[in-house]
């Protein structure tokens, strides 16, 4: 489904991605861990070509993302959902208009089907009552849910999540993680999740990688990573375990 080969990206000489390579299989949920500034979000943005890489390849559904023209890229993007860190809801549009936007722009659907899809995704995220609200009237957790609803309304095959639980309280974080996991299984999507949140990763991940200094330093299941002997991982996950245990209280 997704294959990344030797991806490099730097900003003004500051290397952010330094030869990142990995594969994600169909319907697999991959979590990308790493400290702040290690290039996790940049990785996601390069994957969907919101940023160009310096070198390397990204293959999604067998297509080299960097070799596609704009029309082909937009065609591919119809199969990809992206949940941004701040949800990125369009402020000037209501929740309904936010959800309609990608459907009306990219798909030739009857209004009846659009309404059905809106109801389905809002029910999935338990926010049907927010349909006519403006984004400014929603809490952080609600915005994330609506962002998630907007991402899945086009029935994507691949979902990219950029810090889906950042800025949320532990209970809402857990709810969002569980919701993501349920939707992943219900819609059988492949997903790549960038997160700091160990609980979120435990709920969602089939497999995980750890990025540091632009390189993948470890790949495996969550348990393998948490129990790894490398000092960097011990250091990284010991803090997370304390946070995790605290959040579970």
């Amino acid at each position: 489904m997704v294959e990344i080969k030797d991806l490099h990206k730097s900003f003004d000489g500051n290397v952010v991605l330094d030869g990142v390579s990995f594969k994600v299989e169909d319907a697999e949920n991959m979590v990308v861990f790493g400290r702040s500034g290690t290039g996790k979000s940049v990785l996601l943005k390069c994957m969907i070509r919101l940023m160009d890489s310096d070198s390397g390849d990204v293959f999604i559904q067998g297509k080299d993302v960097f070799k596609l023209n704009l029309k082909e890229l937009n065609e591919l993007r119809k199969d990809i959902g992206f949940l941004f860190q701040g949800a990125a809801l369009y402020d000037s549009m209501s929740v309904r208009e936010n959800l309609e936007f990608p459907l009306k722009r990219n798909f030739d659907l009857e209004q009846k089907e659009i309404d059905e899809r809106i109801h389905f995704v809002l029910e999935s995220v338990s926010l049907l009552e927010a349909i006519d609200k403006m984004p400014s009237e929603l809490s952080g957790g609600m915005r994330k849910r609506i962002g998630l609803a907007r991402s899945i309304i086009t029935k994507p095959k691949l979902m990219l999540y950029d810090e889906p639980t950042t800025g949320l309280d532990p209970i809402t974080s857990k709810e969002i993680s569980v919701l993501i996991n349920e939707l992943q299984h219900a819609l059988k999507m492949t997903s790549i999740v960038v997160t700091h949140d160990l609980l979120c990763a435990k709920i969602i991940a089939d497999r995980a990688i750890v990025l540091d200094d632009g390189k993948i330093v470890k790949e495996g299941s969550i348990n393998e990573l948490v129990n790894a002997d490398e000092p960097l991982l011990k250091n990284f996950f010991s803090d997370k375990i304390i946070e995790h245990n605290g959040s579970m209280k």
């Binding site: 969907i48 919101l50 937009n74 993007r77 990809i80 941004f84 701040g86 402020d91 722009r105 086009t154």
Partner: protein, 269 residues
Amino acid sequence: MNGSSVTDRLFGVTIQRLNDFFTMVGGLTSFTGRFLKEVFLPPYEIEEIRKHMIELGMKTLPIVGVTGFILGLVLAMQLNPVLKRFGAEAFLPGSVGISIVRELGPVICALIFAGRVSSGIGAELGSMRVTEQIDAMEVSGVNPFRFLVVTRVFATTFILPILTVYVIFISLIGAYIAVVLVQNMTWAYYLDRVIFSVEFGDAIPGISKTFVFGYIVGLVGAYKGYTAENGTEGVGKASTSAVVVSSLLILIFDMVLVKLTLWIWPTVK
């Protein structure tokens, strides 16, 4: 601090400012190129353009109306004693009319429009940029440049001439009130004098240049917002510099267009 370090600092600042200036000129030029390329390609966002025209027009209508009224009133009050000095009070309606139609109406309206709209577009698109809404649009397969920039620039280009006609009319009403205060003149006679004095060659160049001003207001606001960075600080900067740059460009282009008009249309000399 010794003299040479002050000079070095001054030199450094000057170089930085020049660099920023040329970067902006380059950015605006490439933005214009992209606009001209995208504006002719489907899908044509007619509904968005209509929405922006109504929104921007309604938002600016009260302020340009008040400004236009005061402009006409003050201009007539100022001109009356000057014309009286030369025994030319009878020319007051014509002088006011020509001044408003040819220069003051279009330029003042454009400057007010720039202050209100360019900053608004800069702040709106800047906010969308820093909160990743523009990225979200791109990811969903929509061309954000066409949807956000082309529609707004198109709307400002075509709404400003309409607002200018409105401002000219309101200014003439304001001027009439000032005239009535100092001279015994009916509205019909006043209007007749204005229409008699203002020629076709005064009105067309005056109104036509507002298409260019409208384009500048939309383009600069959109450019500053679309390229905003560094969070909320960047949004504030985008909004402020959009007003400054668009106002300055309006005055520069006014100078060029007046010269051009007098050159290609000698009847208005």
